[in-house]
């Protein structure tokens, strides 16, 4: 009895430690490879150079085109997902019948289980041709379609987490609003959404973090042309797409070209790490405000 308890305790400890070690290992690889990259390319050049052409004869190592591509697709995605996701959250909370909510919420979450490569082809073969009917100048590969489809993918993330946030606002606040003669719309957007704002912001930050790290959709539909632009109609390249491109290519291991993926990787890591910590901080700071 005593011994088996010890064994189980040991196994649980091991599971936790292995997870931490793997994470530490990933960060170590990222750091060490990118340090050797930054021995050759200065951080200043990395951050200020306007072109990213490590695979060409005339090599330029400016990360900004990739950052711009990432922010562009992410921006389009959030512009799609935030209004729709928040509207769904408000609808489920204030308007929908309890039984409808029980059906709709899990159905929405199915959206998040579709493989992203399917989303990618949906963007490339359905959304882009459709949009080209209205925007003739839209390129075959573009940030707009990829961003829109990525937005559809993260709708359930925003709607589900925001709905949780809104439904945890004390009932007394909703009653106060109704008691003052507020309509449902005034109650939802004037009282409930502001009161749940910390939770909603957290959901958006986590969605941004997910969009920044998303790979397949942008690799398939957004093109592979690093370009310092905020025009969503032309092909661009995101950080993640670049990493895929090089990983699948025939770049010799240990070369400077090879090391660029770690520099790009650590940039991505800094983004998502900062966003996740920001959401954690907001949650901790505001969550007990109305209890």
């Amino acid at each position: 009895m005593r011994v088996s308890e010890k064994v189980i305790e040991g196994l649980l400890w091991l599971a936790a430690v292995i997870t931490i070690l793997i994470t530490a290992g990933i960060i170590w690889v990222l750091l060490s490879e990118s340090i050797s990259f930054f021995r050759v390319v200065s951080l200043a050049e990395f951050l200020t150079e306007k072109e990213w052409t490590p695979l060409f004869a005339d090599k330029k190592f400016g990360i900004m085109p990739l950052v711009a591509g990432t922010l562009l697709t992410t921006g389009v995605a959030i512009a799609v997902a935030l209004p729709i996701g928040l509207t769904i959250a408000v609808y489920l909370n204030e308007y929908a019948h309890a039984t409808l909510k029980q059906v709709v919420k899990p159905l929405l979450e199915v959206l998040a289980t579709i493989p992203t490569v399917v989303y990618g082809f949906f963007a490339l073969t359905v959304v882009t041709p459709f949009l080209q009917q209205f925007i003739p100048s839209l390129a075959g590969f573009n940030a707009l379609s990829a961003g829109i489809v990525m937005g559809i993918m993260i709708i359930p993330m925003i709607s589900s987490l925001s709905e949780d946030a809104i439904s945890s606002v004390p009932r007394s606040l909703r009653e106060a609003a109704y008691g003052m003669g507020s309509t449902r719309l005034q109650t939802s957007f004037g009282v409930m959404v502001p009161a749940a704002s910390s939770g909603i912001i957290v959901s958006v930050i986590l969605a941004i973090s997910r969009a920044v790290g998303e790979t397949m959709i942008v690799a398939v539909a957004a093109g592979q042309q690093p370009r310092l632009t905020l025009n969503p109609l032309v092909p661009i390249e995101t950080i993640t797409t670049y990493i895929v491109q090089v990983s699948l290519g025939d770049v010799p291991q240990g070369s400077l070209e090879y090391k660029t993926i770690f520099a790009a990787g650590i940039t991505l890591f800094v983004f998502t790490f900062a966003l996740n910590n920001l959401s954690f901080w907001i949650k901790k700071k505001y969550q007990e405000k109305y209890d």
Binding site: S172, L173, A176, M180, G181, S182, V191, P194, A195
Partner: protein, 254 residues
């Protein structure tokens, strides 16, 4: 019952939560500019009944009303009645103070703002009048733009009363407005109720018998969803007609 007109009236009112029969054939009339207290043990239906006057129960799944509730002679459960308009006429103060997480000023003018009133001078005047009416002005006039959540519980409750008064309702429903407050704050709220009845028809639910005795003109005793007895408060407390009323007010159950 008296020469005064009935501001509020319930006629053959039944209410159900699903299969549970919460209110049974209630008939009662409440005078204009008087205080009516609802008393009774927990679960007797007094809060449910109070909430039928501003249709606050509408959002509860399975809640159903039969019969009539009349406000100035008009049935408020008619199809063509807009509940948001109704609630501008029938204000409510809740058991636990529930100010919005906004500034004191924003709380008081909330009701006016949702009606589309934007003019600063109008809002400022309304805020001052309502806060004075709720006997809170002197305590908050220097910190109107500070958060309402920083006020004490008693101040928050008077703020909620000021917020309700700002949209000039004619009826004020109060659901145990002092039960979460300390004795001094309770005394202040009671004093306020006494002053407000010169202009408003007030209905108050209370667990506190002394409170009903102090503030109300008429008292209704509810038990198991029935209106057992309704009379002038003085009469009710000195010579209750029903045995159940007598047992309750003398503290034999409750």
């Amino acid at each position: 019952m008296s020469k005064k007109t009935n501001k509020l009236e319930a006629i053959n009112l039944d209410a159900y939560y699903g299969d549970f029969h919460a209110l049974k054939n209630i008939n009662i009339g409440m005078e204009e500019k008087a205080v009516t207290a609802f008393i009774g043990p927990s679960g007797c239906g007094k809060s449910t009944f109070l909430r039928t006057f501003n249709r606050m129960n509408d959002y509860i799944d399975g809640f159903k009303v039969e019969g009539q509730i009349l406000l100035d002679g008009k049935d408020i459960y008619q199809k063509n009645i807009r509940v948001d308009e109704l609630r501008k006429e029938v204000g409510m103060v809740f058991q636990k103070p529930n100010p919005f997480p906004k500034s004191i000023f924003e709380n008081v003018v909330y009701g006016l703002k949702i009606q589309g009133i934007k003019k600063k001078s109008v809002l400022e005047e309304a805020a001052e009048t309502s806060l004075k009416r709720a006997a809170l002005w002197d305590e908050v006039k220097d910190k109107l733009h500070k958060s309402a959540l920083a006020l004490s519980g008693g101040q928050q409750q008077r703020l909620c009363i000021a917020r309700a008064l700002a949209i000039s309702p004619s009826v004020l429903l109060m659901d145990e407005p002092a039960s979460a407050l300390d004795p001094i704050s309770t005394a202040k709220v009671e004093e306020l109720i006494y002053e407000l009845k010169t202009d408003y028809t007030i209905v108050i639910v209370t667990h506190n018998m002394q409170q009903a005795g102090r503030v109300s003109d008429h008292t209704a005793f509810f038990y198991m969803g029935e209106l057992v007895e309704f009379n002038k408060t003085k009469t009710m407390f000195t010579s209750p007609k029903d045995e159940r009323t007598q047992n309750y007010i003398t503290g034999r159950f409750g």
